[in-house]
């Protein structure tokens, strides 16, 4: 979780910077990042000898709005129900 906070607050960063001060190993940090990468939450790119990680905002925002979408679907379904009952 602190990884995400770091990526939010500090922007793109290398594994070294992301692991700095955390009580987990770099391998564990890498593992977390891979998991998040597979879900499209973060992305990485090679810069010279280092891999730089950053949040993938497009995908995260998609997730953020999932409930909004479902919520709107319910709104419209319930308005249809009212239409049926009150006609």
């Amino acid at each position: 979780m602190r990884l995400v906070s770091r990526l939010c607050a500090g922007g793109p960063a290398s594994i070294t910077r992301l692991s700095d001060g955390l009580d987990i190993t770099r391998q564990a940090v890498t593992k977390h990042l891979r998991v998040m990468q597979n879900s499209g939450l973060v992305r990485s790119a090679r810069h010279g000898r280092e891999r730089i990680w950053e949040l993938d905002p497009r995908r995260l925002e998609d997730v953020r709005h999932y409930l909004d979408l479902i919520s709107k679907q319910w709104d419209s379904a319930l308005v249809r129900l009212r239409g049926l009952l009150e006609d």
Binding site: C8, E61, D62, V63, A77, L78, R80, L85
Partner: protein, 162 residues
Amino acid sequence: MTTDRIEKQIFLRAPRQRVWRALVDSKEFGTWFGVKFAGPFTPGARVRGTVVGTAVDAGIAKLQKQYAGVPFEITVDRIEPERLLSFRWHPNAVEPGVDYTREPTTLIVFTLEDVTGGVLLTVTESGFDQIPLERRAQAFEANDQGWSMVIQLIDKYLAKAA
């Protein structure tokens, strides 16, 4: 703010019996919801159906047309006459050719309550935190809102992945 649950309330100016019928009768439910069900709702039953346009609103029916024919399935949970109906489904399972059967479901609960002049209907849908992030992300276009809810979501996700 929860990421797991949606709650909706609507006041319906109709007798409780009438509201109940619009929910528990799979044919009536399908009319406003936009799904044609193959059988009745009974506790524990898996009821298959297909998405059709709703008969209530022509504009929405047109929107739903793009999903017409998509299979739809619910598993009825509880039926407590004129008080509560609940079932499970795969939320937003509208992509043709995608097999949702192995994915977690959400629980939908309708409850009825008498209020002056009609019925207060409450709908909750919960269990979204179990839905794969990929599935949730696929559902929309990008937007420009804040991060707090996303962070909460990722937190839960990572707690499980660890």
